[in-house]
Amino acid sequence: MSAPAAALTAAAGLLAVVLAAGADPARGERVFQRCFACHSVVAGEDTLAGPNLRAVLGRRAGTLPGFRFSPAMAGAGARGLVWTRTTLDAYLADPQAYVPGTEMAMPPLTEGDDRRDVIDYLELAGR
């Protein structure tokens, strides 16, 4: 491969990484309005109906101290479910199918872009 071709390939790869990462957390914050009634990403805001989602990526499902999770979510965590970009994406795409019995009533977030952007937002909120 020639040097220009390699450079082009590298640039395309970088672009793909950026696109895959989404990098649109501002849009993700708007998508998060669907979650906002029950969830917060503000540290210490922990009296809502759903668990605080600050730093949710990397957290074992159903384990946030002080929050009372459904048996379904606690069980999923006990069986090893950890929130990653991949598992969150699958959960948001169809919460009831991914964790049957979850108490979260939010309907499936069917658009992949919405899921990617809201996960971007959550990822940033955890830093």
């Binding site: 309005q33 029950c38 009296t47 809502l48 019995g101 009533a105």
Partner: protein, 321 residues
């Protein structure tokens, strides 16, 4: 007293009542694929039951006499939450997915929408009620409440005091409108002329008032999610009374007061419906026979109390006559 329900599609069980309470028979209706996960339910004077199939973006219609279910798609992106039968006999819906108030013609199934002002953004529409002037009042869980006049199409939306949380809403027999704020842990009374909301604090701090309903005397009953209490606000006396539901760690999601002024609640820790007699202050518990039934709302008509089991894909009726 706890009694298992053996509900399987058609009738089932006649349950012996507590002293002074009518006996209860329970019947469950399985819902079809593509029209399950019922969130809210409403029964009209004709006995037809409407429910929101939130996950599938549809409004369901159950004829309890035949068990037949019809589904009305509400359009792309729909995720309906609340439903009531209006004074016109039609189901009216808080259509959360499209941020609209929706009416479905019960005969033609025509769907008519009144979108919220675009500038408001997504408000997470929750529940609605009619006032005695034929206007729709609704809540948006992200921190608003509003009013639609179907006659003129005029819609107004107000910021809720204390922000996010407006959840269940109901009209009392004397025409007052109250809503509950889940995140705000209070109820609020609405001024039907100005739209102003007056916050009223239940005695238990951080109780998580989730839904409200009125008894025949205009007293407001509140299901408290965080505390597991049911409480009653008497507007005339400006007084509260509170009772803890049975069990170790109850969570009261929905409340409804029937035509006999008996209070019905859904309690998630016990996965049960609970009947409370304010005269004797006794609770009766009716556990579901399905795990995680997750009843999110209750509504009825004389002799019938309907409970949508969102986690079991069925509608269950408790008949008291």
């Amino acid at each position: 007293m706890r009694r298992a329900i053996q509900a399987l599609g058609v009738v089932l069980l006649v349950l012996l009542p507590a002293v002074g309470q009518p006996q209860v028979s329970v019947q469950a209706y399985d819902l079809p694929r593509g029209g399950g996960h019922p969130h809210d339910v409403a029964v009209g004077a004709d006995g037809i039951v409407w429910y929101t199939a939130q996950r599938d973006g549809k409004l369901g219609r159950l004829d309890p006499a035949s068990g037949k279910v019809d589904l009305v798609p509400l359009g792309r992106g729909a995720a309906p939450h609340g439903v009531v039968v209006g004074p016109d006999g039609a189901p009216w819906v808080t259509e959360g997915g499209t941020n609209s108030i929706v009416r479905v013609d019960p005969r033609t199934r025509e769907v008519k929408s009144w979108p919220l002002p675009e500038a408001r953004g997504y408000v997470n529409l929750n529940t609605l009620t009619f006032d005695q002037r034929g206007r729709v009042w609704f809540t948006g869980q992200n921190g608003v409440y509003g009013r639609l006049d179907p006659g003129t199409g005029e819609m107004k939306v107000w910021d809720a005091p204390r922000g996010r949380g407006p959840y269940g809403i109901a009209t009392t027999p004397d025409g007052a409108v109250y809503y509950a704020s889940l995140a705000g842990s209070h109820i609020a009374r609405l001024d039907l002329d100005t739209g102003a909301a007056t916050v009223i604090e239940p005695p238990t701090k951080g109780q998580g008032a989730r839904r409200v309903w009125s008894d025949s005397r205009g007293r407001v009953w509140v299901s408290e999610w965080n505390s597991g209490n049911v409480s009653r606000y008497d507007p005339r006396a400006n007084d509260w009374k509170t009772w803890k539901l049975p069990g170790d760690a109850p969570r009261a999601y929905a409340v409804y007061v029937d035509d006999q002024d008996t209070v019905w609640l859904s309690e998630w820790s016990a996965n049960a419906m609970v009947r409370f007699d304010p005269r004797t202050e006794k609770f009766e518990t009716f556990p579901s026979d399905r795990r995680g039934a997750n009843v999110r709302q209750i509504l009825g008509r004389p002799g019938e109390v309907w409970a949508p089991e969102s986690g079991a894909d069925r509608l269950v009726v408790y008949r008291t006559k």
